[in-house]
Point group: C2
Chain length 506, copies 2
Amino acid sequence: MKLIAKIIPIKSVRPLAIMNQSDAEELGVFEGDRVRLVAGRKYLTATVQIALGFIEKGYIGICLKSAEDLGVEDGSEVDVIPIPKPASFEYIRKKLDGHKLTREEIYEIVRDIVNDALTEVELTAFVLSSYVHGMDLDEVEWMTRAMIETGETIDFEEGIVVDKHSIGGVPGNKISLIIVPTVASAGLLIPKTASRAITSASGTADTMEVLANVNLSIEEIKEITLRVGGVIAWGGATNIAPADDKIIRVEYPLAIDPRSQLLASVMAKKGAIGAEHVVIDVPVGEGSKVPDVEEGKKLANDFVELGRRLGLNVTCAITYGGQPVGRAVGPALEAWEALKAMEERKGAKSLMEKALGIAGIIFEMVGKTTNGYEYAKEIFESGKTLEKFKQIVEAQGGDPNVRSDDIPIGDKTYDVISPIDGAVAKVYNSRIVKVARAAGAPKDKGAGVLLFKKGGFHVKKGDVLFRIYAEKEWKLDKAIEVALKEPPVVVSGMILERYPSYRWMR
Amino acid sequence: MKLIAKIIPIKSVRPLAIMNQSDAEELGVFEGDRVRLVAGRKYLTATVQIALGFIEKGYIGICLKSAEDLGVEDGSEVDVIPIPKPASFEYIRKKLDGHKLTREEIYEIVRDIVNDALTEVELTAFVLSSYVHGMDLDEVEWMTRAMIETGETIDFEEGIVVDKHSIGGVPGNKISLIIVPTVASAGLLIPKTASRAITSASGTADTMEVLANVNLSIEEIKEITLRVGGVIAWGGATNIAPADDKIIRVEYPLAIDPRSQLLASVMAKKGAIGAEHVVIDVPVGEGSKVPDVEEGKKLANDFVELGRRLGLNVTCAITYGGQPVGRAVGPALEAWEALKAMEERKGAKSLMEKALGIAGIIFEMVGKTTNGYEYAKEIFESGKTLEKFKQIVEAQGGDPNVRSDDIPIGDKTYDVISPIDGAVAKVYNSRIVKVARAAGAPKDKGAGVLLFKKGGFHVKKGDVLFRIYAEKEWKLDKAIEVALKEPPVVVSGMILERYPSYRWMR
């Protein structure tokens, strides 16, 4: 069917063919069907959308980018041909019906995800089907391999390549800023790609960006790693495992994170950058992604087995995720806390124990030592971690002479104090994040929360429990409102509860 | 956050807030999140879409209709406020995790579907969750009631109101054109709402539209039914069970039809028009929706029990759906076949047996007779069915004096003949539909297929198996191509297969 192009000044992820109801009926297509748009020798696949009144019969609305790709302008003729759904759609239907997919089927699905050949509804169906029915380790392995192979990869010809990854869920987890230089200063290669915050207050990429450029290409990641031993880059700037970003785009609005996708996503990123030894940090506990150690062990087991199948040596560190790591939450505050610890060669106990513990596991995995924690602690306390961190910052275009106290923190602050004498009964991860985000994190780098009292600490009436930082007055006000409505830090007297709570009637 | 409106010349189903990445980060929202757009005293809820390059920082793209609703124009200021997902989203997540929903939760979901408060991804998640996990009869009952209550309904103050519904899947099913007047001429009220074809060659509404207007309001349906006893209207022109159309829009691209939605959809429509006695036609067999009689019985059982809960007297007719009903497939051809049968007081055996059989069940249900089939046959053969049909056609604005041979049929035809002597071994429902649709049905009313030989018929070499009708030469050519590639009618010699197929090696 020949139609006249009408160019619509929007850009859509997938090409759209916006048609009049009557033309669509004539062509025998419905909303969501695929058509091929042909102009001369150029063509592309588009998804039919029925215009609600603004495209006349005989016309077809196409977006800016499609018009460019087809080389057509307003008034050009475009041939519109119905085409069937891609084969991968049948495989998604198969998974939806609870059947196991083959290697070839999974590869086809992942290729179509990367090429934007699936509509949003179809991709949603795939993610939901793997959420509801799960995938076995064969399927997860194929998924991981397909995700690696459909993106860019790094092959280090020399050196021992290690990596670490946290599955997330615990605020203030700035440990990579300490682990990467500690490990690199011992001669290992650690090309760490990190993510930005989606629902958290700061991703490692957001935190590192306070001090250096994290938008590195895959060539830059390799070059810097070979030169100084380590890097902390934003994975999203590369084309590593590109299917992952597209899947996450669908998971986010559904607030789901299928186990199979979590496994494949992490391992694909680690496999793609050529890591041989990997530590996976699995925070467990209330308010983190994994409720308890038992569940953490199951997940750890899958990571280790998946690593074995992919030729990666994997160890999982099941860590305490019931409250924030260290004291600072928010990009600049976290960068400040990590750098301060490196400068002073000491820091908050939870931060030091976790960062050096994981660095230590890496040292043991590669056979450097049988007491990794002590080995890492020695490096850290000798000042080598700081020295290496400065080299990394410089290699990533930052100022190597930056000092923690130079880091700009939001100058609008508010202290939340304890109303009573007692002890901190609870620190809520999700509430801390809510306050930090209301204050402006991660977009406003200087916004966040600094904890003065964590779980178990004794407090006196009037003690500062935490301080909110913001760059803008109105955001500080909003954050205070959130903090007062749902207190992130709860103090109780020593008697936490009275049971039964009623008093005996006399 | 205050942004400047930029009006985009598109109309979308749900209001969109097209934002610059930087503004979205500043506001802390992601694609798919909800925001409230406020202009003066007017406001609406919109879904965030991140502009790919064409909306500058400080601006917000909104569609024509939203701009009208807000009373803003290009350059007006709009306040953008993030708001949480609706409560129904939590219930969808609950169903996704396999839990049973409560009555209140289902009502909330249905209300939000009707009000377009759920995004396409969220609605997809709901439909998929009920496909994968199913719903029990409590949930289906609540779903049905909620669908009825969120739309228009008819209350007939007098008369016995009956109805019939086919769950579909078998081509050429023009029985309603005979059942409705037969039943109405016996003094019952039958306000039949029908659907248009989505993937078939003709829906009952498409077929009836050849002879009369089917776009009737709910008031017209009631008035005509009270006046002449029956009506055959397009349900889509009314606001009966509006949630159903929105759910179908998501089911179509996924090619799924969850059992629970099928039950709720059918029964909501019947309940809404005030039917007391309903026959459900469940075609079974290869190529129809239900594979065999056993499965048909299970579905029938659910229909009957659901009817009992809703106060509807339901009987299911499990019918043979392995090949088309009658000989004609396509709107005008089907109208022709039905009208011809009424004029001649006889017709194809499969058509007469099914139409009069179902009319007969209705007569038995209301206690008119204990031999419904004979009762219906008498009415039909007396000419009363034709007489009543003409009254209905006239009441719906058609020509009551129309004769079957006046009906315009496509004048481009092609006969497919048998290449051998033998018998018809198979008639493929799906292939017949494919050919009819390629020929232009249902959009071109005169397009379709007329069968001369059906399953079991003996044929001689050169006999016409079926004739393709089209209104346009190029569509006829396409239909011929489809028919030759995948033959809809297959003739075999009497030895259908040789087993083992290899010959003994000597």
